[in-house]
């Protein structure tokens, strides 16, 4: 049953550009997809280790800037007579380095936070994001500051001399985002359903008990921030080479908030949660716009819907649906042990 649903969804997503000719709709789907990837990465931390990274956009922005700068090349004067430069490199290399640098920053944050939990973890991540934003804004020689990095090249893949494919048009970018999204989903799923994922959930549920059975809690928090930041960096790199302009606005707090909304309404600690929440809150503003509703009213609807979901489905949409489905099966006489297995547990 679940497998059929997954295959239908994948077939629908794969065939979408074939029957959806509206470039506008494809653009919205690409942007939503990029945010869903970022939300999935946030969910690994918030949903499974229970630690809220309220500066998560920093990793997204680091991925975007690193990938852009490597593919554009740069030259900076670190000291009056010492300059460091980099020739423009292929975009795929930039993307890889963007992912790597974001992941390394995540590793550092995880290491620094070895003893901080809850509110203190939030403060560490928020501060980190603000510092990175200020660097992007003020290190004009490297980042162009508020003038933004322009003319960022698109991703080109191929064999030199044989063929080359540029991810210039929307359908190509759509498939690229879909591919990265599926890979990110699979990585997170593997992690969650393993010894490492159980250790992360144990940190969320009861840290003292986790330590008492031999779990090196910090080690798994660091692993979670590393992987999570890397995936957020991948989302940022996709963003940079699709939108092709990056300015310090990518570090805006509102983007982190959007990711948190997607994760919390969809259902934190479930694999499908960020996707469901991301689709709703990624597509909603654009859907409302097509009904030519006043922008103010749009945001009121957005806010009211969010409050309703949080109020009536405090655990999120996916856990609520799952419980409803389980209850229906039990009423039909299926023994509880055969009920759908919870994803929240490893």
């Amino acid at each position: 049953m679940k497998r059929i649903a997954t295959l239908t969804l994948l077939a629908g997503l794969l065939s979408l550009p074939l029957w959806m000719s509206s470039l506008y709709v494809l653009h919205i789907l690409i942007m939503t997809g990029i945010f869903i990837i970022a939300a999935m990465s946030l969910n690994l931390l918030l949903g499974f280790t229970g630690q809220l990274s309220l500066g998560h956009v920093a990793f997204f922005g680091i991925g975007a800037y690193t990938s852009s700068l490597v593919s554009l090349g740069f030259e900076v004067h670190l000291l009056p007579d010492w300059q460091v430069g980099l020739e423009a490199k292929p975009v795929w290399l930039g993307m890889l380095l963007g992912i790597l640098l974001a992941a390394l920053c995540g590793w550092v944050i995880g290491r620094v936070s070895f003893k901080v939990r809850g509110a203190y973890f939030v403060i560490v991540t928020v501060s980190f994001a603000e510092v990175v934003r200020l660097v992007a804004l003020n290190w004009v020689e490297l980042t162009q500051g508020p003038m933004a990095l322009n003319n960022i090249p698109v991703l080109r893949l191929g064999l030199p001399g044989w063929f080359e494919f540029a991810f210039l048009r929307k359908p190509a970018n759509y498939y690229l985002v879909l591919l990265v999204g599926v890979v990110a989903y699979l990585l997170i799923r593997r992690l969650v359903h393993s010894r490492a994922g159980r250790a992360m959930i144990a940190l969320r549920e009861n840290e003292a008990l986790a330590a008492s059975v031999g779990i090196d809690v910090t080690r798994y928090l660091v692993l979670a921030t590393f992987v999570s930041a890397g995936i957020a960096g991948a989302a940022g790199a996709l963003y940079a080479h699709y939108v092709r302009i990056v300015d310090p606005e990518v570090f805006s707090f509102i983007y982190t908030v959007t990711m948190v909304i997607m994760v919390v309404t969809g259902g934190k600690g479930t694999l499908a949660g960020p996707i469901v929440g991301g689709l709703i809150f990624g597509l909603l503003p654009e859907t409302l716009r097509t009904f030519s509703i006043q922008p103010e009213i749009q945001w009121v609807i957005y806010g009211v819907l969010m409050i309703l979901i949080v109020y009536f489905l405090p655990e999120g949409i996916v856990p609520a649906l799952r419980r409803w489905w389980q209850g229906r099966r039990e009423r039909q006489g299926v023994p509880p042990s055969a009920a759908v297995k919870s994803e929240a547990s490893p």
Binding site: R190, E205, P336, A344
Partner: protein
């Protein structure tokens, strides 16, 4: 089983202070391999503090603890568990949001060998081990007597079964020395009797047990040796018979005859 007199855990002049309060004051004792040793004493005597210091949850002000010759003082709790010293908690402590089976699977962390890279690459060995871990978790639940509850949420268990689940989680971590902090506190007599039978079966697995407990029927029934603490000091050390007739223990528990009545 080797000679039951070999020292398994030695606590050497352990002192624990909280601000101006000395919770444990230079206590020294040994746990011998294969025995069940009980720590008793009135509330506030320092039993749980001693547990916390042995398992690395608090740092002692002075003194040291060593296990089979390895110094535990200064190690982190998870490193101490790796050496085979595993505890339960006085206040009921499980992973409430997980199923009973998953609680035990978390406990199997030290048995499991998966490395992050193999997990992310989806190695076949990881999937194989997951199956083996599930089988093992089920057999631990069977041993404890919770196999019928495997798929239920831990938070849905009645109190008596929660206390059993705590022991199941601890057993999953393959303890050689198991520290139980008031495991039958709040249980009814039938459940307590059931727990005593379980303890006998745990002993048969070659697990040494250090027990903190107030239920004297249980303590007298299962212990090979009893140590009585009062106000952070050891006031008696001996067999259940010796402790029962020790005047100082009676005084610590009941007070002097003039104020007796507790």
């Amino acid at each position: 089983m080797s000679a039951p007199t070999a020292p398994e855990l030695s606590v050497d002049r352990l002192t624990i202070r909280f601000g101006g309060l000395t919770a444990v004051d230079g206590a020294s004792f040994e746990v011998r391999r294969g025995e069940v040793l009980s720590l008793i004493g009135p509330n506030g005597a320092g039993k749980t503090s001693a547990f916390n210091a042995i398992t690395g949850f608090i740092a002692p002000a002075a003194g040291s603890v060593s296990y089979r010759g390895t110094r535990l003082t200064g190690l982190r709790s998870n490193q101490i568990a790796e050496l085979g010293v595993v505890r339960t908690f006085q206040k009921t402590s499980v992973f409430a949001g997980l199923s009973v089976l998953d609680n035990v699977r978390v406990g199997l962390h030290l048995v499991s060998k998966q490395e992050p890279l193999a997990i992310l690459l989806g190695a076949a060995s990881v999937a194989r081990e997951e199956l083996a871990l599930t089988t093992r978790a089920r057999s631990i639940l069977q041993f404890i007597g919770l196999e019928a509850r495997a798929d239920q949420l831990a938070s849905a268990l009645p109190y008596g079964e929660l206390r059993l689940l705590e022991v199941a989680i601890a057993l999953a971590a393959k303890p050689r020395l198991l520290l139980l902090d008031e495991p039958v506190c709040g249980l009814n007599p039938a459940e307590t009797a059931n727990f005593m039978a379980l303890l006998t079966r745990i002993r048969a697995l070659d697990v040494t047990v250090l027990l903190v407990e107030h239920d004297m029927k249980m303590v007298m029934g299962v212990s090979d040796r009893i140590i009585c603490l009062n106000q952070g000091r050891i006031i008696a050390d001996g067999t259940p018979e010796a402790i029962r007739s020790n005047a100082e223990v009676v005084r610590a528990y009941l007070g002097t005859p003039r104020v007796a009545g507790g």
